[in-house]
């Protein structure tokens, strides 16, 4: 790995669309069974938990809420540390499998501040 300082904040965002009426249950499972190890073992810092629409859609609806849960790590080496720990821990995969019946779709993406793009690419 490079010896340069890695000051850029990298964001890890989970976008999870719950089945109608299931968003609370998804969020609770995420915070109880995913977040603790993410913080303590993988070095991830919870940045925000956002929801759209900003109300709890119920099970009489034909659609569910989408949760945007965002984490951060500092620099690419920390990103790899986060990722390797996730791959080595079978509980991570088990968690995602366990909530699959509660969700319509999900997507994970990795982001940075636009101001950090140049330094992130200057490696």
């Amino acid at each position: 790995m490079s010896q340069v300082e890695h000051k850029e904040t990298i964001y890890i965002q989970d976008q999870i669309t719950a089945k109608p009426g299931k968003a609370k249950e998804v969020l609770a499972a995420y915070m109880e069974r995913y977040a603790p190890a993410a913080k303590e073992e993988r070095g991830m810092t919870l940045v925000s938990r956002l929801i759209t629409p900003p109300m709890w859609l119920n099970d009489q609806d034909d659609q569910g809420n989408t949760l945007f849960i965002t984490w951060s790590v500092q620099g690419a080496p920390a990103w790899w540390n986060m990722s390797f720990h996730g791959r080595r821990n079978p509980k991570v995969a088990e968690f995602w499998q366990s909530i699959a019946p509660l969700i319509e779709k999900r997507h994970r993406c990795f982001l940075s501040d636009i101001a950090d793009v140049e330094s992130l690419c200057n490696v």
């Binding site: 990298i10 690419a76 990722s83």
Partner: protein
């Protein structure tokens, strides 16, 4: 070019010089137009003790070499001998899409990744993966020569589907820019990450690298 790469782990106590001589001899048999046998660097991952790479003008030349007592048949016997070889990961492939940056790098560090796409939802996803893998060479400045290929025949720990080869001026180009560039961790790694919904590459990989003297990727001059 039609290519054969084997990642060879010597048996414990094997006479390495005898093993190397057998591999070098087979690489001199008819049909081989370019070859490399080099010990791997420390810290490879499932990478074996040697990278043995050979190239042929086409598949027919490879098949003739394979049937030759001095070529493939001799090597099959060596690899089947547990006193000499513990494990051989093998991939046979037509060289796929490749790129080279100006400067004609002909010496440095060669890296190859054996991977198995075994959870792909469709061919379109695999094509996208192929294209994005190729683009790593465009974006990451330390990659000087690169090629992504689909495997025709494989053996070893997995049914290998792809070979991703790169050449660098030195190994720091792999451990540094290749790992740190956002095209890697922020974009293409989602195919490898079980937490991402695009995940489709078996997490068991062969990540291995060695010195090279004479490019195995750039067009043969």
């Amino acid at each position: 070019m039609f290519k054969l790469t084997k990642l060879i782990t010597a048996a414990e106590g094997a006479d390495r010089s005898t093993l190397e001589a057998a591999l070098n001899s087979a690489a001199k048999a008819n049909g081989v137009v370019r070859s490399m046998l080099n010990p791997t660097y420390p810290n490879v991952y499932n990478g074996g003790d040697y990278i043995w790479h050979m190239q042929f003008n086409d598949e027919a030349a490879y098949r003739a070499w394979q049937a030759d007592d001095a070529g493939g048949k001799a090597i099959d016997a060596v690899i089947a001998d547990p006193s000499q070889v513990k494990l051989a990961e093998s991939a046979l492939y037509e060289g796929g899409r490749s790129g080279s940056k100006p400067g004609g790098l002909n010496k440095g560090a060669y890296r190859t990744l054996f991977l198995s796409v075994n959870k792909a939802p469709n061919e379109a996803a695999i094509k996208k993966f192929d294209d994005e893998t190729y683009m790593m060479g465009v974006y990451i400045h330390t990659i000087k020569n690169w090629q992504v290929s689909r495997v025709k025949e494989a053996s070893g720990s997995r049914p290998w589907t792809h070979i991703w080869e790169q050449e660098y001026e030195d190994i720091s180009g792999l451990h540094g820019a290749y790992m740190l560039h956002p095209h890697h961790w922020g974009h293409i790694d989602r195919w490898y990450d079980p937490e991402c919904t695009d995940y489709m590459v078996d997490t068991f990989l062969c990540h291995t690298f060695c010195n090279f003297d004479g490019s195995m990727i750039a067009p043969k001059g």
